[in-house]
Symmetry: C2
Subunit: 344 residues, 2 copies
DNA sequence: CTGAAAGCGCTAACAA
DNA sequence: TTGTTAGCGCTTTCAG
């Protein structure tokens, strides 16, 4: 039994136009009538028909988000927390988030739907790759978007953690703990974030006068299982014989590495130091707890979405590029003394 | 540079109506013209305007999902996997999922928006409480919905895991391992799932002739931290003095319990056996790995969404209530021998 | 099999 | 300050 605006208008004795204005707080309507109409709307339990309103306004009040490439994705707690930051912000501005969480092969199709079928007003992209073809598409269609991650294109709005510096801090910490031969578990190779984290790793070693050996690099895909497999193989092949610590490009992989080492009979940190990246909750739950680079995950989500909201409202955000600082959280896996969860 | 249906129609030399029919595979249009029009649509890169189409059809092709009450929610891996099952199914039918992941106090508001402002065609509810006021709302508005969880209302469509039987299996397993005094870490009290799991726990004990003691019940809220705190307090107060094993109503709480025991200096399973519920991925990652009751999480999501899709398409699903079986996965925390991740 | 015309419910010029 | 009049882009009777 829904009441339409026309019915409400008739009931009020005003025209649809006035009712529409009153409900949208247009300044051109007399205070009395606005109050009256709003009151009536309440009484008749009137609710605007979003779809109709959207059609007329040529908007959807929906923001699309393309989840990262499989096999990473919603399984990574990082993105969950990120999502929460986004949702929070959007909700308060009356926007909702649409996440076509689909298999990789449909990713393009999902983006097309969002863009060309007018399903969303704006988009949040994550996990940019070296030459990401999603951005030109969005630009061409004039759809506002914000990127989680960074790109060299100067006209793109992005938000990112300090990947390179974070990785540096992680590796410098391992160096401080006395390690010299430090390996790295890399995430997917085509991602910008991977490149930057690996760069930070290399720089730290370089500064310490250590020349990274080819055997010290393990390729994985940002998943736990992927890292577990890669590290297991590496251990089996005795690729680790001279390495005393590993820096993993994210926590999930660090956790996988931890398990592989356990299964191989290596103790962490005694036999092998380990540092992760992201600061997901699980990093504090594993045993030994994981030393990691804490990203301001929620904040990344909030920032990305509020940038996008500004764009959608036709404003021009103060900064196009925002890099948020990260911090090293020292726990057990890198060799520090045990600590309890009690303090948390 | 979007092309509208009118433009396409003009280009084709047909009327909008025919074009609309052709593109929607209406049988009343000649095969030749249909093919021709579809070809032209491709060529001109025509994309239907979803909002307009939705307005005319009085639908949105969007399904809303109300995430569980805080503090549980998107932080629980269970729901992520569940979500994935839903998304998969919906995507293949051209539906998308809207998840207003908002603070608890806005939950009602979010539901209202979805319902009354015609933002969604149907809803998936989770975590029913004893007297859940969301269902009457939806029923009154005639909005199709499916429940994850169960209810006594006979006319509601629901999908659920076998909570009671699962809990029984868990506790019977502990009994088999020689435990008699088995405690339970309960989830939020007002949830139906909690009641059923606790019931299963009680029944198993009863059948074994064990009379559960009041001290054996710990109250928590389905979160890791909540369980950590509850168990820590319990241990401090020496409430555990006669208990040799715990059944946690979900894995997250089991993990929290694990940490609390570690911090207290108790070894699992030697000093205290532990079994969880859900079978989230993390249950196999912790140390010791967690014996748990595996729910068919993905399948729950798929089933719930395909039930809903049927309702949305005006069909009548074969079953109103679907209870999917669960299975006990025995790992280390209940006293079984260590096992490697390699097999996974 | 195809077309004309009337909406879907709301917004936004343009008048008054 | 308010009302009139066209749409937004698509679907769907109802005729032909």
């Amino acid at each position: 039994m829904t009441v339409t605006m026309k019915q409400l208008a008739d009931e009020c004795g005003f025209s649809k136009a006035t009712v529409s204005r009153a409900l949208n707080n247009d300044s051109r309507v007399k205070d009395d009538t606005r109050r009256y109409i709003q009151e009536m709307a309440q009484r008749y339990n009137y609710r605007p028909h979003t779809v109709a309103s959207n059609l007329a306004k040529r908007q959807t009040r929906i923001v699309g988000m393309l989840m990262p490439q499989a096999p990473r994705g919603a399984a990574d707690p990082f993105f969950l927390e990120f999502l929460q930051g986004i949702n929070e912000t959007l909700f308060h501005s009356g926007y909702s988030l649409l996440i076509p969480q689909v298999p990789l092969q449909y990713m393009q199709q999902a983006l097309d739907q969002m863009i060309y079928e007018h399903r969303v007003d704006g988009v949040i992209l994550t996990e940019p790759t070296q030459k990401d073809e999603r951005m030109p598409r969005l630009q061409q269609e004039g759809i506002p978007f914000v990127l989680l991650g960074r790109t060299s294109q100067p006209d793109v709005y992005w938000v990112d953690g300090e990947n390179r510096q974070g990785a540096r801090k992680a590796v410098e910490h391992l160096l401080d703990m006395g390690h010299r031969r430090i390996g790295v578990i890399e995430g997917e190779a085509n991602q910008v974030a991977t490149a930057n984290r690996v760069r930070g790793y290399e720089e730290a070693l370089q500064d310490a006068g250590v020349n990274p050996h080819g055997d010290w690099r393990l390729n994985a895909d940002y998943t736990r299982q992927g890292a577990y497999d890669a590290v297991s193989r590496w251990l089996d092949q005795r690729g680790h014989r001279r390495v005393t610590a590993l820096f993993a490009c994210n926590d999930l992989m660090a956790i996988g590495a931890l398990q592989a080492m356990k299964d191989f009979g290596l103790r962490v940190p005694d036999d092998m130091g380990l540092v992760g990246f992201d600061g997901i909750e699980a990093s504090s739950c594993v045993d030994p707890s994981l030393t990691t680079v804490q990203q301001p995950i929620l904040q990344l989500g909030r920032t990305a979405s509020s940038q996008l909201l500004q764009l959608l409202q036709g404003q021009c955000p103060a900064h196009r590029q925002i890099a948020l600082p990260v911090s090293l959280v020292v726990r057990e896996s890198s060799g520090a003394p045990r600590q309890s969860l009690r303090s948390s």
